[in-house]
């Protein structure tokens, strides 16, 4: 594989990252750069290691018993496995949005303010400002500004997912990891999330796992194809979908499975 071009700057980068669950190898020696202010899509069949890779970018795999790794992931050139690194701070800087929206059974406002309160922010005016900014950032403000005290569980699926994005944005992350953020949404809600992703990349760096290849093609600048724990190919999205270099990529994007 040719090395990723030096520009733009790589916000994150894995080098020879191998991750095992017990003795089972989930990803094998993956070296992949996540360029700053770009959307990197991770595609591949179930069990290919793409979600494991995504979770390893903010050490979410640490929470899984028996998970162990070799190799390193860098954030701004610094290893995220460095002993002196604060994992809580890492996860603030590298936020995550999951497949199933998981709002807390609290008000819309409190959902977004939650991370800020945990972080020790008490000033009401500051809290309100950050909540508004985050909801605007997640393209949800206009829909909820008059009912911030209502339960988040009353929102539609698409709104709940954008609320979760707002919650992730509230703590001012630098990188957003999205694991199938639109797979449970209807086409309209999906289009809103995709449009949001385009807007967010100006401020953040985004990595997204998706099973929907058209979605990867629509939202990402670069696409990485994983297969059986290996990174097969990574390149500009346009090239991956018009002229992939590896036969396994070609077969996958053209629908030749097995």
């Amino acid at each position: 594989m040719p090395p990723t071009p030096a520009t733009p700057r790589n916000k994150m980068e894995s080098r020879d990252l191998t991750l095992r669950y017990g003795s089972k190898v989930a990803i094998k020696q993956v070296s992949l750069a996540i360029p700053e202010h770009k959307v990197t899509a991770l595609i591949g069949p179930s069990g290919c290691g793409k979600s494991t890779f995504l979770r390893s970018l903010n050490r979410m795999n640490d929470l899984i018993a028996g998970a162990n790794h070799e190799g390193t992931v860098f954030l701004d050139g610094r290893s995220i496995h460095d002993r002196t690194l604060d994992v809580v701070d890492l996860r603030r800087r590298v936020g995550m949005v999951f497949q199933k929206s998981n709002p807390f059974p609290k008000s819309i406002f409190e959902n977004v303010a939650y991370g800020l309160r945990v972080g020790g922010l008490k000033d009401k005016a500051k809290l309100a400002a950050r909540v508004e900014k985050s909801l605007r950032g997640a393209a949800l403000w206009d829909e909820v500004k008059d009912r911030l005290d209502e339960s988040a569980l009353g929102l539609s699926g698409g709104q709940q997912q954008r609320l979760c994005i707002a919650r992730a944005l509230a703590v001012e992350p630098e990188v957003l990891l999205m694991d199938e953020p639109a797979s449970a949404l209807d086409p309209i809600a999906t289009a809103k999330i995709e449009e949001l992703i385009h807007e967010l990349k100006a401020t953040y760096t985004i990595a997204i796992v998706t099973h929907n290849m058209q979605q990867a093609a629509r939202v990402s600048d670069r696409t990485a194809f994983f297969y059986m724990g290996e990174l097969v190919e990574c390149g500009p999205t346009e090239r991956i979908f018009t002229n992939p270099q590896e036969k396994r990529t070609e077969d996958y994007v053209t629908g030749k499975f097995g």
């Binding site: 290849m213 058209q214 093609a217 979908f241 018009t242 002229n243 992939p244 990529t249 070609e250 077969d251 994007v253 053209t254 629908g255 030749k256 499975f257 097995g258």
Partner: protein, 228 residues
Amino acid sequence: MAATHTDKAFEQDLRNLREKLLAMGAKVEALVAQSVRALTDRDSALAEKVVGADREVNRLEVDIDDLCRRILALRQPAASDLRLITTALKIVTDLERIGDLAVNIAERAMDLNQVPPLAPYVDTPKLADLAQQQVKKALDAFVSGDAAKAEEVLKGDDLLDALFLKIFNELLAYMMEDSRNIRRATALMFIAKHLERVGDHALNVAEMVIYMVRGKDVRHPKSRELPE
């Protein structure tokens, strides 16, 4: 292409597309041959047949366009499939034009068959053979996904151009010699020009085949070097 699509209906659509394109290619290739034979054999009935066969070519063009649109809308093809569809959409136009040129040649042949030949037809059938071979080679390259063969077509175009120029100069000489030759010489010049154009369309097909196989657009290399 050893692996096949998991979706068999999709696989079938793509096979249909290839077969239809191939049928259309074979058809226009035959029309070019027949149109020139109508001239050399002074067979105006054959020329009529060529003119009539154009409808079939047009119908294939519309069919292929329809099929491509359907595949694009329903299958969202990617990678080599996408390159096949975009190639099909473009070469179908070239093939249809080749059919039109065969009709034009047949029409000129009908005119020329009414009057004594200007001279024995030697170079015109040669030019027709070259043009036809170029079409055939481009289609073979398409069917077998053979970019090297398509490159041969690119190289072969110079030969056609050179022979066309030779015919052009000869006919010019006839015209200068005797103004009564002008009508026939002009008709023959049109035929030669049409055959040279057939070669150009074969070249376009070959360029698209190279794109289809390698994913690299080889058209207009000089124009791309120019600043925006």
